[in-house]
Symmetry: D2
Subunit: 364 residues, 4 copies
């Protein structure tokens, strides 16, 4: 199967290049009867949108999504939902000088190798611009999950460079342009970005994403474990280099007596597992973290080669984010929503509605 679809039953297929006329998606498999308008999707799109604040790329896109099908009189009909966003601020000439260069850290070299041809304008298909459609599609899943099951999905930037969150306060995420859940480090983050812009450099970031009220029982072992599909979903986001669930890499130094979460008549005693056991949700918060590399599009010159294999220097002059991890927050939420939604439908297919035939301590 080609690689531009995500999900088995809530299936999202996307198209579009950074500098083509439009980007779009088809969401196939959405349950009928969900009230849905473009406004439901626009909020998250605006959070991801380039040009939304000074910490992200100066490219300005309205990112106004249109719903072209699958909704009738304000309600989903069960037929595929066509989504479209027209590109408006493309400035293709910004990129013509790198036509024959492979930007280091970018997909230029690999796309050229793979396909023998590439749309070099703004990275073409490899641009993070495609993630706008993930956010739009994820918004549909998110609304359904919230409405049907009260599932809440949230993410925040918890580390940038050496600065990391001290106290997680989810209420703060919407109060700053970093989507950071800790007000006490905002000034430091702001200073770091200023320093990077001055230096013509960029920085990596760590994001935490959680889904609350996920019903017990989602996940399809042995390969399509809930966390395996989330790992794929998050690792498929541009720039992501690592994904962890629950305690993540810290488990390497843990002992079994410490890691395993006790079950008690009033609930789990802890959540080291991050909400999944044996590939299936426990009903506790489903918790993951992801690492995003520093963007390679910086004004600091770097060594590279051209298509003829000759040594060249390159300095990116386009409009780019000093930390792509910031805009990664709504994208991580969207992918989480898509994974949980897809697994909800998969669970229903085989098992019918969520069972509660055993003591459901997770929800106590």
């Amino acid at each position: 199967m080609p690689g531009n679809s995500f999900g088995e039953l809530f299936k999202v297929t996307t198209f579009g290049e950074s500098h083509g006329p439009a980007i779009g998606a088809i969401v196939d498999g959405c349950p009928p009867g969900l009230p849905l308008t473009e406004a439901d999707l626009q909020g998250d799109l605006d959070r991801r949108r380039p040009g939304a604040n000074r910490y992200t790329t100066a490219r300005r896109e309205a990112d106004q999504v249109k719903i072209l099908s699958g909704v009738f009189e304000g309600v989903t009909t069960g037929t595929p939902i066509g989504l479209l966003i027209e590109n408006t601020d493309q400035r293709s000439k910004d990129y013509s000088d790198i036509k024959d260069l492979f930007r280091p850290g970018h997909a230029d070299y690999t796309y050229e190798h793979k396909y023998g041809v590439r749309d070099y304008r703004g990275g073409g298909r490899s641009s993070a611009r495609e993630t706008a459609m993930r956010v739009a599609a994820g918004g549909i899943a998110r609304k359904y999950l919230q409405q049907e099951l009260g599932v809440e999905i949230r993410a925040g930037l918890v580390q940038m460079g050496a600065i990391s969150v001290q106290n997680l306060n989810w209420g703060e995420v919407h109060n700053n342009s970093f989507f950071c859940p800790d007000a006490s480090i905002i000034d430091d983050l702001d200073q770091l970005i200023r320093d990077l812009l001055k230096a013509g450099d960029s920085i990596g970031a760590r994001i935490r994403v959680e889904a609350l009220n996920v019903p017990v029982g989602l996940g399809e072992p042995v390969f399509d474990r809930l966390e395996a599909d989330l790992a794929k979903a998050l690792m498929s986001i541009n720039a992501v280099k690592a994904v962890s669930i629950g305690d993540g890499f810290a488990v390497v130094e843990q002992r079994g007596s410490e890691h395993r979460d006790a079950l008690t008549p009033t609930g789990f005693g802890s959540n080291h597992c991050g909400g999944v056991l044996g590939g299936i949700s426990t009903g506790q918060p489903f918790v993951a973290e992801l690492a995003l590399k520093p963007t390679s599009s910086i004004t600091t010159p770097g060594d590279t080669i051209n298509k003829q294999g000759e040594a060249q220097q390159i300095s990116t002059r386009g409009r780019h984010d000093p930390c792509v991890g910031i805009r990664g927050v709504p994208i991580a939420e969207a992918m989480m929503a898509l994974v949980v939604m897809d697994h909800l439908l998969r669970h229903r297919a085989q098992n019918g509605d969520v069972k509660s035939s055993v003591p459901d301590i997770a929800n106590l």
Copy 2:
């Protein structure tokens, strides 16, 4: 789609419970003309096999694989390959006393919730026993990749608890029962295992897995990136809680000028990216790490509940590994092989044989 298949074009579907009569797999999509015998698969199976050394579970399984189809006169025919391993040392009575208990850290609770019924003997389908079929199927992919393209896949245990590899020496992996690429820490690892057995406890581990000579161009953006599919593959292994590519979580503190790998006329200058850019292989070593949690099956008593929701104590008396990370090594290799193989076939479908129309610096 149900969750017991892996791969789109080199598709592995497995079945079998820990204490059923047999486990098995069907490998569909294997190219014809590959010389293949059961002996080709047995080596890796023996490395994963329970009872193979004192550091792993005392359960003894011959794990003798049979090829039931798809091979004729010693050569694959292009038709599906049926694989079967009979279970021999099942000792089901070991488990009868935990029939109504949910072992903490295990899938008992979630399977009961999901399906309303479960085979409680040895964890049933949630047992790591199913990974034997991954190793067998992965062995086929591995042989094909090695023979056709010279791809080499290797893995090693690089950390157990606080003890981590100092100098990576791949040649050492086959010289010790830990599959550890550093002879200097073997004694410490040995002592740690002895201490754990005495304490009735277990420990986590970190594994590094690499594929060398992967051709440039494998990977199917935007969702089915090579590293996204590997992240899923590795996260689908029992006990895995984190996966990283290249520099992994360390990218959070890196700057763009540091992270992006320079291209030069004689090759890449570094491999921070771990062999993938834009979801497509660069031709450099494809490098990942994974964290495995400490097994929850320990003799140290733990709190849990029974099916009636009443508080209980449990102490696992079955035969288990103090560190499942050891046997995770051949499993990680198998999953790496399956991912690279599947993407090789996917690349061929759309693009024909691997292109070399641009300067192929990665292989210089």
Copy 3:
């Protein structure tokens, strides 16, 4: 995706050659809680079994199916069900003389071309022997459908050569070895088979297959219409050359005023459509027919070539059916069961349990 799986959510993957050690299947996605034993599957297998009566091949296979996983204490657990049938009466030497010949009307020539290598013994994978696994897997679907929804599936041979059923009497199907629903033509069929055996020839057949009590609403337009998936399912059976739904090819000469089935307060007035409108079941009987070609394995000599392209004569001396359409009856039933089952699960995923929010005239 390779071609040995059927179904999206009730997924059957098969392996095995005519003269290998065994054939098998994995059924993934079966709902948990279904009482299931090997005896449930054996009945249909015995109907399909070679050597069951004088009208079919003299090869004798016990076709004793074993369930290797997915069932615990007599009930399905939701994990994959492994099925195995050992081949017992293989007589490989029957076939050694056709090693380098392409039997006309068989898959020898195309398999050789496609794969460059083939198991020539009894047709290898192209043998109808693989349909035994379809019957076994279909039996699971059939039991579930019957138990959960009262769905009844039935098929019968309605034409062989020029002899066709005059009055459809489903009760007769189990009273004769032709699975023919018309007692009045049994003697003619018997005489036709005798004549063919004497002449060393074979004959085609037409089968009718129906599913009753299929709930309204199954089918996934626009591509995965219920009848489109059935067409594929039936056309995938060896020797099938045509499939029709409802009135089939007769619609070419019908007028709209004649064909369209009236809806009345007490039910549909007719069933020209065969139980599907717009790709979705109407609740009426779901009706299809299929045409099976005469087997090419006959003792009458025929022209062919060998692998060197030289002209040869061939006369099949193996054990074969004069009319493969007879044994096609339980196979058609199995494929119908697999299609309806798969679509039931697919419907559930998106729409939950079968809706009855509109007047359900079909079931009046």
Copy 4:
């Protein structure tokens, strides 16, 4: 998986309702390097287009397709191709009076049952309007197949009512508005349509579709046989009720000695099989026929019920074709192209480029 995608490797996903703002498709998996413009697709779209001639619906749609992605500087890039056609002549008020009625022979009743809600304007998603996207997507496959392998695909209307083609002359297809390969029956067809329009009725049709120069070896047994996937593809077209391959239902009365096609050193002696043996192409013409029912949208009043289950009379006043089989011709060609293209890519994945290691008599 939801039902709006077709193909495994050349994957087409469509969206759009008859009276929504637009219809569209994503073609994922197209090989890079194919020269492609909108003009390449417009020709077939114009043949299918409503309002193109007096024998088809009076609705007038420009059906101007836009390529939104996947093509750069006139050549495909290997990334997904977004296609869009805006609806222009929607006249939604034509349909408001049937909002609560189930038109007999239409999908109104089944969509209402399945989804609990439906876009009743012009049939919404169940309208044949969606087939425009099949034609556009099929045009891409067709161009690739023609250019790479010289595959030619052609179809024609070979029967309407009782009038059937006497002499097949493919050159005639483009000379008349019926896409009929026999000039001698055009006057009769014309008269039949006039009579039907006068009578307010409609008629069924039979179409023949062929692919020439299909390489030997395409098809993925045992389930995804080439003809099985074609059967599904054709049966998924609105109004199709039967599909046959080669001799089709006539095989029921044939003997094996008559049906099996002899192989000779200079080629196959006949093509009863229709170009497939064992589910794999033989290299001969791949031949199929399909039956389309008479449209149910006629002015002759018919019995039906409303959503309250009350008896009603209905007479369709919208703009409809007296014989949908006419416009079915380019749609059948498109589906044939999609099937052959998908199987070409599937074959390549496992087997590399088409083999010629055995005498290739089919192409002599």
